[in-house]
């Protein structure tokens, strides 16, 4: 009788074994019949219209997938390239930009919208007037906040936009602005469909323009399940050539170890933001490929400058001296970052290498604190979000490190954290003492680091986390963009950097290298230095030799 039982055992193990080995086949050569691509993304987008946001997660998900811009940025050449405008010119005084628009560009057809005409100048006016014209029916829809545009004072710059004829638009500026074209090439300056806007107004559901998007881009939105996935299907009539893949899925996976695990086991084909600690493992895995880019980003500890004791310069400088940036680069970035001594990375042409450094000196820090009247230290909180960003792979860990470092000079730190969307929401109330955040540049222009982070306008629109602004600094920013002379601009930016170094509204910490990791079989995915991942040209290549041991 025990024999029968034993027999039952043996017979049940065999099928299990077969199934297991069968499954091994399925994953180790990855020859899925389904020609789609799965991208492991690090979070939910908070909207489907990049005009409304500056967070990388949202722009990654939407900007290059769903939309196009008037002009695009060519990362290889470092220049502005044609987008929906195939040609343009600027007049002699630099205040009038003329754009010649492409013909036969169609918008998405969906189960919620059927376009009757192709793209033309009306759509350009619609997309930009929404932002600058307070009377525009869509200006206040979905909150009325256009953070990037507000921080560069877009509506203040433009005096009018004129439709000359259906395929020609002129934009008139009030003052010369050398960063204007670069701003039109950013992730945020997408072109929407006016016809869609009018249809939605008729249906009395205008907010759908941002949640059920229609654009001219290579993919259209098929479905979105919050915290789970976004499904895109290819736009068969895309003007630059339809994507070859059958579907594109964004698998929303906040934890980096999960993303890498999915990548290695075949549930994902491309992954965002690998942690620097995982890079070695990724390099060793022959079915994966690691792409590296130098980082046009910065992570910083911003003070709530209005809140005592952070309104005292000595306190801020004491904290700056107490932070060991090198240790942070080692522990949090595993060495794949450079210590930041200013907001600008050394790559930028406006970088100032003559700034006085706040070297790591706990003794000096304690002394400064005592001079400020805090010889017994004090309590403060650091807000850190539990998500990965390009500029910071692990804010919580960074906060813990800083907590330990500040403890040495007598400051007791509490770490406060919320889920990313809740976090961003709560920041606008300025309840924090300090917060760990950062910035990834949208274009190569140094202005992109200054106005969105420090201007009084960005204090209104939400990019300025220091709760402080200085009109004299604002004037410097405006002067800098009024010229195209690089030497002149460099000079002004050097002055601005020096001023920021003295005022220290935030402490820059590190510039991170950018990574993207994908399966070797996926091609057509360049790593863009200025954010915004694009799947337009992605495709899967059949591997001829997928066995281990082959290079």
């Amino acid at each position: 009788m025990t024999n029968t039982v034993k027999k039952i055992f043996k017979y049940s193990i065999l099928p299990l074994y077969i199934l297991l080995t069968g499954c091994e086949q399925n994953h180790s050569d990855n020859s899925r019949v389904l020609p789609g691509i799965v991208y492991c993304s690090e979070g939910d987008p908070n909207t489907f219209n990049p005009q409304l946001t500056t967070t990388g997660t949202t722009t990654d998900a939407t900007s290059y997938q769903l939309y196009n811009r008037l002009v695009e940025y060519d990362p290889a050449l470092g220049t502005i390239a044609p987008g929906l405008a195939h040609h343009w010119h600027i007049n002699e005084n630099g205040k009038i930009y003329t754009f010649y628009l492409r013909k036969k560009v169609s918008f998405h057809t969906n189960n919620y919208f059927n376009p009757t005409r192709t793209f033309n100048a009306d759509d350009v006016l619609f997309s930009f007037n929404r932002i600058i014209d307070k009377q525009h029916p869509y200006n206040q829809v979905s909150g009325g906040s256009y953070p990037f545009f507000q921080s560069v004072d877009f509506s203040g710059q433009i005096s009018k936009i004129v439709k000359v004829h259906p395929y020609m638009v002129t934009i008139h500026l009030k003052e010369k602005d050398s960063s204007f074209l670069a701003n039109l090439a950013t992730n945020f300056a997408v072109i929407l469909s006016k016809e869609y806007g009018e249809t939605l107004l008729q249906r009395q559901t205008p907010e759908l323009i941002d949640t059920n998007p229609i654009g001219t881009g290579p993919f259209y939105l098929d479905s979105y399940v919050q915290s789970s996935h976004i499904r895109y299907k290819p736009n068969k009539s895309y003007w630059a050539g339809a994507p070859v893949i059958d579907q594109l899925v964004f698998d929303i996976t906040p934890k980096s170890t999960n993303r890498i695990a999915k990548l290695m086991t075949g549930d994902c084909d491309v992954s965002a933001l690998p942690q620097s600690s995982e890079l070695d493992v990724l390099r060793r895995n022959i079915s994966l490929e690691l792409q590296i880019q130098t980082g046009f980003n910065v992570s910083y500890l911003a003070f709530n400058r209005n809140k005592p004791p952070f309104n005292q310069a000595k306190v801020r400088k004491a904290i700056a001296h107490a932070i060991n940036k090198r240790a942070i680069v080692e522990a949090v970035y595993y060495g794949s970052a450079t210590v930041a001594d200013s907001i600008l990375p050394p790559l930028s042409w406006a970088y100032n290498d003559k700034l006085s450094q706040y070297r790591y000196d706990p003794e000096l820090a304690r002394q400064l604190l005592a001079e400020a009247g805090f010889s017994d230290g004090f309590e403060m909180n650091i807000w850190a979000a539990p998500v990965q960003r390009i500029y910071n792979p692990n804010a919580l860990k960074m906060a813990e490190l800083i907590q330990g470092q500040l403890a040495k000079i007598g400051i007791r730190v509490n770490i406060v954290s919320y889920g990313w969307n809740v976090f961003i929401d709560k920041l606008s109330a300025f309840e924090y003492d300090s917060v760990l955040l950062g910035w990834t540049a949208d274009n190569a222009d140094p202005d992109n680091f200054f106005r969105p982070l420090f201007s009084c306008a960005s204090l209104e629109s939400g990019g300025n986390r220091t709760n402080w602004c200085d009109p004299s600094l604002d004037r410097k920013f405006t002067k800098a963009i009024s010229s195209t002379n690089q030497a002149y601009r460099t000079n002004i930016y050097h002055q601005a950097l020096a001023q920021l170094n003295q005022e220290l509204p935030l402490i820059p910490l590190a510039h991170a290298l950018r990574f993207q990791v994908k399966r070797r079989a996926i091609h057509g995915m360049p790593l863009n230095p200025y954010g915004g991942i694009s799947f337009a040209k992605s495709h899967r290549v059949k591997q001829l030799t997928a066995k281990k041991g082959t290079p």
Binding site: K255, S256, T257, I260, Q275, S277, E278, D280, V281, N324, A327, E330, A331, N394, L396, K397, E400, L401, G404, I415
Partner: protein, 297 residues
């Protein structure tokens, strides 16, 4: 034991406790379990004195060191370090207090209340018993995890909340075990005999029932300790437990998952610690169960 210098050979019959102990010792696995248990208890007490480093101190020059038997490891950091340079061995030792120590404390408190309530419900009859039973069933259905979720939702993360949640979740188990044991004893002949003798409820309980259910209670307590350890570690793993920085085994394991590619020992070592302590307790419990059965026939 016979004394050499006495005339009479004394026969001393070992008391039930001694009998149980003798049977217990004869199971080697149970004795091993008991040894480990005692070592853990001692470690919990003397942890601050024998730990080589302060558990939260970040050694920035010694990040992610593997355990000392690995070629890259150092003896100074015996079990290696985590990604902030904290010594794993010291954290493990302090974790004995957090995970193991609090489970002991929680079990004792739960046992105290649970047994008293179980006795009250077991000895009572009628409506009072019914009501207590229904409340018991309702609370039995709520696992400690859900209770912890409730407490954390209400008053945030803290060790106290975790301990309260696990404690409250354990009480019904003790209640039910005691209740069943008492109900089993009540119809016995010797209880009836005592009552006929004129003993009141209290006397019946203390002199007749209690000695007979003591063994079941002890066994239940040891089982409860292992449940408490796993519960506390689980809550720590899910990060519903003590906030950072903390030396709790479950939380250490969760932190280790982030390093799973480069430092897998951060996952294995705390896991082993939990496993070994729970196994030890279970072995002791198993040994006790058998010893009680053999000892009291």
């Amino acid at each position: 034991m016979a004394r050499a210098n006495s005339i009479y050979q004394e026969e001393s019959i070992p008391s039930p406790i001694q009998q149980i102990w003798r049977y217990f010792i004869s199971y080697p696995v149970a004795v091993i379990g008991l040894w480990v248990f005692v070592i853990l208890l001692i470690a919990a007490v003397i942890a601050p004195f024998i730990a080589p480093y302060s558990p939260h101190f970040q050694h920035t020059d010694a990040l992610l060191l593997p355990p000392s038997w690995h070629p890259d490891g150092q003896v100074a950091y015996f079990l290696g370090t985590d990604d902030l340079g904290r010594d794993i061995f010291s954290n493990l030792l302090y974790g004995v207090r957090t995970t193991f120590g609090s489970s002991m404390l929680v079990t004792l408190i739960a046992a105290f209340f649970g047994i008293i309530l179980g006795i009250l419900s077991g000895m009572s009859k009628g409506l009072k018993s019914s009501i207590l039973n229904h409340i018991l069933d309702a609370t039995l259905a709520i696992p400690s995890l859900l209770l912890a979720i409730v407490l954390v939702a209400i008053s945030g993360q803290s060790l106290t909340n975790v301990m309260m949640a696990v404690c409250i979740a354990l009480i019904p188990q003790f209640m039910r075990a005691t209740h069943t044991a008492v109900q089993y004893e009540l119809p016995r002949e010797y209880v009836v005999a005592a009552k006929l003798d004129g003993a009141n409820q209290v006397q019946v309980f203390f002199h007749v029932i209690l000695p007979n259910i003591l063994n079941a209670l002890v066994v239940q307590t040891t089982l409860a300790i292992s449940v408490a350890i796993i519960d506390i570690a689980t809550l720590g793993f899910l990060r519903i437990g003590v906030p950072a920085p903390t030396s709790e085994w479950g939380t250490m394991l969760a932190d280790g998952v982030d390093l799973i590619f480069i430092a897998p020992w951060n996952v294995t070592i705390p896991g082993l610690a939990i496993f070994v302590s729970v196994l030890a307790i279970n072995l002791v419990g198993y040994g006790l169960q058998r010893a009680v059965k053999e000892g009291l026939g």
